[in-house]
C-alpha cells in the first residue's frame, strides 16, 4: 500500500491553487487542441513547452500532463460531430460516433458515451499505473522485437473482423495501406523507397493529413452532393437533459469500456505502440464480442471500445516514461525533452530522486480525468449545435479546418496536398462501399511490424525458430494459428455433425 500513500502525497502536491489552476488550464487547452483536427497532443505539448520553462517543473508537467490527457477527450468531439477525428487516436470513434450522431440522431448521447468511456478507460489506466507502475514498465520491456512481431501479427489478423461482408475489398485496402506506409525512408537502412525522386516523399506519407483526407475531407465531398438538402436536426431542442444517456446505454458501454481500458493501458505500456494502435486494436477486438447493433452503424459499444482504449493507453504510456525514462509515443518524447530542460533527469531514478514530481504528475492525471469529464460535459449542448448548421455553411468551414489541420503537421503545403489527394481517394472508396478501417489499421501497424520483424531476424540471423523459442511470442503464434485455423476446423466439425452451422451474420 506504499504506492497509495505516495499517491495521497501526490494529491497533496496537486492541491495547491497554482497546480490546480495549471491542471485546469491544461485540460481546457487539451480539449480545444484535441478537438481541432491535425493539432494533436504532440503539437500541443511542443507548442506549450517553451512557455513552461519559467514554471517550476512540477507545475509545468502537471499542465502538460493535463493537456496530453484531456486531448484524448477532445479528439472524440470532432470525430462524432463532423466525422473528422480531432486527433489520430479518435479515428475509430468516428466509425460509430458519426452515424450515431447523425443517422440515429443521438449526438448528445454519442458525445456522452465517448466522454464516459474516456473517463472509465483513463481511470482504469491510472489505477493500474498507480499500483503497478514500475512493474508494468518491466512487463513492457519483455516485449522486444520478437514479441512485438508476433503481437502485431496477431493484431493484423483482427483485420479479418474489420473487413466486413466483402473480404476482397478489405484485403485490397489492407494491401494498399501497407504499400502507402512503406513509402519514404526505410527505418533500418535509411535507403529511400517509392520516393519517385521527390524530396517530400522521402519522408513518407504523413499520417495526420492522410487520415484527415481519408476520413474527413472525403466527407466534405460527400456533403457537397447533398448541399441542397436541409439539415435534419434543426428542430430538436438540444439540452443537457436531452442528451443524457439512458440506463440501458450505460449498461451497453460499461463492459466494452472496461475491456478497452485494460487493453489500452497494456498497449500504451509497450514500446513504440501508442494510443492510436490501442484504439484500433480495441475496436477490432470489440468485433469479436457481442454488440447490440452491428459495429459501424452507430453502436455505443464501438465508441466505448475505442475511446476507453485511447485514454487507457495515454495513462499507460506514463509507466515507461516515469519508471524508465522511455517515451512510449511522440508526445512522450516531447514531455521527456521537457523534463530534461527543467533540469530533471528522467530515467530509472526519477521515482526515487523526485517523488514529488512523479507522484504529483500521476495525481494530476486523476484530477485531469475528472476535470476533463466535467468540462466536456458542460460544453456538449453548445457543441451539438454544430449539427444544425446548414450544410452549405458547414462545407467551407470543415474544409478550412481540414486545411489548417493538415498544414500544421509539418508547417508546409505538403500535408495539405496529401490531404486533398487522400480525400479524393477516400471519397471514391466510400462511393464503392470500401470501409477505411482496414486501410488505416494496415497503415498504422505495418511499419511497426516491418521494423520489428526485421530486427527479430537480425537477432536470429534469419532463423524462424526464434518466434517459437520465446514463451510470449509462442503464445501469440498459437493464438494466430488458432484464429486462422478455426474456420477450417469448424467446417469439418460441422460436416461431421459435431457443431451446429453458424447463423449467417447480419
Amino acid at each position: 500500500m506504499h504506492n497509495f500513500q505516495f499517491l495521497l502525497h501526490g494529491f497533496q502536491v496537486v492541491f495547491t491553487l497554482q497546480n490546480l489552476g495549471a491542471t485546469m488550464l491544461g485540460c481546457v487547452l487539451g480539449l480545444i487542441i484535441g478537438a481541432m483536427p491535425g493539432i494533436g497532443s504532440l503539437a500541443g505539448c511542443a507548442l506549450l513547452l517553451p512557455l513552461t520553462y519559467k514554471f517550476n517543473p512540477t507545475t509545468a508537467i502537471i499542465m502538460l500532463g493535463g493537456l496530453y490527457y484531456s486531448n484524448m477527450f477532445g479528439g472524440a468531439f470532432s470525430a462524432i460531430l463532423l466525422n473528422i477525428p480531432g486527433d489520430t487516436p479518435a479515428i475509430m470513434t468516428a466509425l460509430d460516433g458519426y452515424p450515431m450522431a447523425t443517422k440515429k440522431k443521438r449526438p448528445g448521447q454519442a458525445l456522452l458515451t465517448a466522454n464516459f468511456s474516456s473517463f472509465i478507460g483513463g481511470l482504469i489506466g491510472m489505477v493500474i499505473l498507480t499500483f503497478t507502475g514500475p512493474a508494468l514498465a518491466d512487463v513492457g520491456l519483455k516485449f522486444g522485437p520478437v514479441e512485438m512481431t508476433t503481437l502485431l501479427l496477431f493484431a493484423m489478423t483482427s483485420i479479418g473482423w474489420l473487413v466486413g461482408e466483402n473480404p476482397t475489398k478489405g484485403l485490397i485496402l489492407t494491401l494498399l495501406g501497407m504499400l502507402v506506409a512503406s513509402m519514404g525512408m526505410d527505418t533500418l537502412t535509411g535507403s529511400p523507397r517509392y520516393d519517385f525522386g521527390n524530396v517530400y516523399l522521402l519522408g513518407g506519407v504523413p499520417f495526420t493529413p492522410f487520415v484527415i483526407g481519408i476520413v474527413g475531407f472525403s466527407q466534405v465531398i460527400l456533403l457537397m452532393e447533398q448541399r441542397n438538402i436541409a439539415p435534419q436536426m434543426v428542430t430538436d431542442k438540444l439540452t443537457l437533459r436531452g442528451s443524457m444517456i439512458t440506463k440501458h446505454d450505460a449498461k451497453r458501454l460499461a463492459l466494452p469500456a472496461i475491456r478497452g481500458g485494460i487493453l489500452g493501458t497494456f498497449i500504451g505500456v509497450l514500446p513504440g505502440a501508442g494510443a492510436t494502435a490501442a484504439a484500433i486494436m480495441s475496436y477490432s477486438a470489440q468485433k469479436s464480442f457481442k454488440s447490440e447493433e452491428p459495429l459501424g452503424t452507430g453502436a455505443i459499444e464501438g465508441i466505448a471500445a475505442s475511446e476507453s482504449a485511447n485514454n487507457g493507453a495515454a495513462a499507460g504510456a506514463f509507466a515507461p516514461l516515469l519508471a524508465l525514462g522511455i517515451p512510449g509515443s511522440g508526445t512522450g518524447a516531447v514531455l521527456l525533452g521537457g523534463l530534461m530542460l527543467w533540469g530533471l533527469n528522467p530515467g530509472p531514478l526519477l521515482f526515487k530522486n523526485s517523488p514529488d514530481f512523479a507522484w504529483g504528475l500521476i495525481a494530476s492525471l486523476f484530477i485531469a480525468n475528472i476535470l476533463a469529464l466535467a468540462v466536456s460535459w458542460g460544453v456538449i449542448p453548445f457543441l451539438i449545435k454544430i449539427l444544425s448548421v446548414p450544410t452549405k455553411l458547414l462545407i467551407p468551414a470543415i474544409t478550412v479546418v481540414c486545411i489548417v489541420g493538415s498544414y500544421s503537421t509539418s508547417n508546409s503545403m505538403y500535408g495539405v496536398i496529401i490531404m486533398f489527394i487522400s480525400g479524393v481517394v477516400g471519397y471514391i472508396m466510400q462511393k464503392f462501399k470500401y470501409s477505411y478501417a482496414p486501410l488505416l489499421l494496415a497503415f498504422v501497424l505495418s511499419p511497426m511490424l516491418e521494423s520489428n520483424m526485421r530486427k527479430a531476424f537480425i537477432i536470429s540471423r534469419g532463423n524462424l525458430d526464434i518466434f517459437v523459442q520465446k514463451p510470449i511470442s509462442l503464445a501469440f503464434v498459437i493464438a494466430i494459428a488458432g484464429i486462422a485455423l478455426f474456420p477450417i476446423v469448424r467446417y469439418f466439425l460441422v460436416r461431421a455433425g459435431v457443431m451446429k452451422p453458424k447463423a449467417a451474420k447480419k
Binding site: I326, N345, S410, I458
Partner: protein, 323 residues
C-alpha cells in the same frame, strides 16, 4: 589649393574604404529565420533553442528576434533544400540552418544536395559514443564479446541512425568482423535502443554519454568500450578504448554539431555570424547549460575552418559509401 587637394584625397579614401567598411559591419536588420530539420524536443531542437536563448539573453544579435522553424518534411531534406536555395539578399543573410554530421549523411546519400550548396558558419561541439552492456548481458567485457564472436556466437548491438551506423561500420572493419558476425540493429532513436537492451533483447547498446547517463547512474547499463582515442572521464572512466582491449587501433568517429547558412549568404554575414557563435561558445551558459549537461566536447571552428572540415568530412563519407 592644398586644402582642396586634401579634401579630394580624403573623399577618395572614404569612397574606396566605404564598401569595405559597410561589408565588415553587417548587423542583423530583420528577424532571423533559423531552420531545424528535426521535430521539437529532439536533440537538434534542444541544441538550437539553447543557442537562440543565449543569443537573445546576451543581446548578441542587435535586439532582433530568432524564429525557430521546425521543417521536418522529407526526413529533413525539404528544409535543407529550401535553405540551400535562398536567393542572395537580405533574406539569405538572415537565414540559419542547424547542421550536424547526422544531417549530412542522409543528405548526400539520398539526394544530390551537397555541403557546397551552403555557407558553413561554425562548428560548436562534438559527441562520441560508447558501447554499454545491460544487467542481463551475457558478456562482461569487450574482450568477452570479441572472443564470443570468434567462437561463432551471434552478438547484436543496438544503436541509433546515421552517426551510430557509421561508427559501427568503422568498428567492425577494425575488428575484421562481418555484419552477420557482429550485427547492428538501427533504431529511430537511442532511447529505443536502450529500451531493447533493458529488456535483454540485444547484447550491447551504442549510445552517446548523455542518453545513457541516467541508466549508468542506476546501474542498469555499464560502459565497456569507449569509441574514442582517450578514455572518458567520471563514471565512464572504467571503459577502455579499443587499443587497450587488444591489438587494434582506436575507433573514433566524431559526431559534430554545427550551423550553416544558404550558399547565397554574403561573406560579411558569414563572418558576423561566425563571431556570434564564437561568443556563444565562450559563454558560461553554453559551457554549463549545454556542453557539460549533455556531456559533449567543445569544438568551436569559425566559418573558414568549418568549411574545410565539413567539405573534407563529406568527401570521406562519400568515399565510404562508394559514391
Amino acid at each position: 589649393m592644398r586644402k582642396g587637394f586634401m579634401m579630394i584625397a580624403l573623399l577618395l579614401a572614404i569612397a574606396v574604404a566605404a564598401p569595405v567598411f559597410a561589408q565588415a559591419t553587417f548587423t542583423p536588420s530583420q528577424n532571423i529565420e533559423w531552420i531545424v530539420t528535426s521535430s521539437p524536443g529532439g536533440g537538434s531542437d534542444i541544441y538550437t533553442r539553447i543557442i537562440t536563448d543565449i543569443m537573445t539573453k546576451a543581446n548578441l544579435i542587435n535586439g532582433k528576434t530568432i524564429l525557430v522553424n521546425n521543417k521536418t518534411d522529407g526526413g529533413g531534406e525539404v528544409g535543407r533544400l529550401t535553405v540551400s536555395r535562398v536567393a542572395a539578399g537580405k533574406q539569405a543573410d538572415h537565414t540559419l540552418l542547424t547542421f550536424n554530421s547526422g544531417d549530412l549523411m542522409p543528405m548526400v546519400a539520398n539526394t544530390a544536395n551537397r555541403i557546397e550548396n551552403f555557407t558553413p558558419i561554425a562548428l560548436m561541439a562534438v559527441d562520441k559514443q560508447l558501447l554499454y552492456i545491460g544487467e542481463q548481458s551475457k558478456y562482461k567485457t569487450f574482450a568477452d564479446v570479441i572472443a564470443a564472436v570468434k567462437a561463432g556466437k551471434n552478438v547484436v548491438i543496438a544503436g541509433s541512425k546515421g552517426d551510430d551506423v557509421a561508427t559501427y561500420k568503422m568498428l567492425i572493419k577494425e575488428l575484421g568482423f562481418t555484419e552477420t558476425q557482429l550485427a547492428f540493429i538501427t533504431n529511430n532513436a537511442t532511447s529505443d535502443a536502450i529500451t531493447s537492451i533493458l529488456g535483454g533483447h540485444v547484447d550491447l547498446v551504442m549510445s552517446k554519454p548523455a542518453a545513457a547517463d541516467q541508466y549508468v547512474l542506476a546501474g542498469k547499463l555499464t560502459p565497456i568500450l569507449a569509441l574514442s582515442n582517450v578514455r572518458f572521464t567520471g563514471n565512464l572512466a572504467s571503459a577502455p578504448t579499443l587499443s587497450e582491449v587488444g591489438n587494434y587501433k582506436n575507433v573514433e568517429y566524431p559526431v559534430w554539431r554545427g550551423v550553416v547558412g544558404p550558399k547565397a549568404m554574403s561573406q560579411a554575414a558569414a563572418k558576423y555570424w561566425s563571431g556570434v557563435f564564437k561568443a556563444v561558445s565562450d559563454s558560461d551558459a553554453w559551457k554549463t547549460g549545454y556542453i557539460e549537461k549533455y556531456k559533449l566536447q567543445p569544438f568551436y571552428m569559425d566559418y573558414e575552418q568549418a568549411k574545410d572540415y565539413m567539405t573534407a568530412y563529406q568527401a570521406d563519407y562519400l568515399k565510404s559509401i562508394g559514391k
